[in-house]
């Protein structure tokens, strides 16, 4: 892989429209019982426009940015050698159904450790107005030749 990857950014992803049923489907898949994720009336009673996504839902939006990185021939990352090492979400506000989100990935760190490389990528996810919603940070471990 390319050791000069640090600092590289990719263009914003196509807008992702957060669907109510997608939020519910995701909530059920992670075993959520949160009424605000499942019940529109409960979400509205709590002051939200629609159902609120579970904390790990941003990965659905982040995925398109990781595809940009892993699909970039100049990055030279062999997907078959990639292991998910760390994940973090830092919220400015929760994701709510109806949000239209775009993400910009920046490679913030590249380290080599033994024969492996650790690539940390921050995907800044913002709404229609460009206001920050959540930053999704992944550290990928790229295994070296065995």
């Amino acid at each position: 892989m390319n050791p000069d990857l640090q600092g590289r950014s990719y263009p914003p992803t196509a807008p992702y429209l957060v669907g109510r049923e997608k939020v519910r489907e995701f909530a059920r898949a992670v075993g959520s019982a949160d009424p605000l994720s499942l019940d529109v009336d409960a979400a509205r009673a709590a002051g939200f426009a629609d159902v609120v996504a579970p904390p790990t839902f941003p990965v659905v939006v982040q995925e398109a940015t990781l595809a940009q990185l892993l699909g970039d021939p100049e990055a030279g990352i062999d997907f078959s050698r990639v292991v998910h090492g760390e994940q973090r979400f830092r919220f400015s506000r929760p994701i709510v159904a109806g949000d239209e989100l775009a993400a910009v990935l920046t490679v913030t760190s590249v380290k080599t450790l033994g024969g492996n490389a650790m690539v940390t990528a921050e995907s800044a996810i913002s709404d229609r107005e460009g206001a920050p919603v959540v930053t999704a940070i992944s550290t990928l471990v790229v295994r070296g030749d065995e």
Partner: protein
């Protein structure tokens, strides 16, 4: 609503055992869009040297935080959530896998009105997540 001054560092705020089956993996694959076949095909998992079909790390991360969501009163309280994936969760086709989740108060910030909750997730006696921390806003 949980008052910060009722909490002490080290308090266990939630404990739960969650069963993960192959069905759970297929459901999560569809919901998340992560269709890596190591999460549902034994032959593919074996061909890349894995001990079996693995749960998505993101399913483990998403599942582990739910007891905290129930305690704190919903996903909108979460300000920050991070984990390290330290050990894979192998999901047996018949028996599935059991995740034992414990959530403890790691630190409190009265000025910010936030608590850091530290998660321990065990599978077959060993932990599968490291530095699993969720910062929640109380009240």
């Amino acid at each position: 609503m949980i008052a910060l001054d009722t909490l002490t560092v080290g308090d266990v705020v939630a404990e739960r055992t969650v069963a993960v089956s192959r069905d759970s993996l297929v459901r999560y694959a569809g919901a998340s869009g992560d269709f890596n076949p190591i999460h549902y095909r034994d032959d593919v998992a074996a061909s890349v040297g894995l001990p079996g079909v693995l749960a998505h790390g993101m399913l483990t991360m998403g599942t582990a935080v739910q007891p905290v969501m129930d305690w704190v009163g919903g996903a909108h309280h979460v300000l920050d959530y991070q984990v390290r994936f330290t050990r894979p969760v192998v999901v047996d086709p018949h028996e599935g896998a059991e995740l034992e989740i414990t959530a403890k108060v790691g630190s409190l910030d009265a000025a910010a009105g936030t608590a850091r909750i530290d998660l321990t997730v065990r599978f077959e006696g060993g932990t599968v997540l490291g530095k699993a921390q969720v910062v929640v806003r109380l009240g």
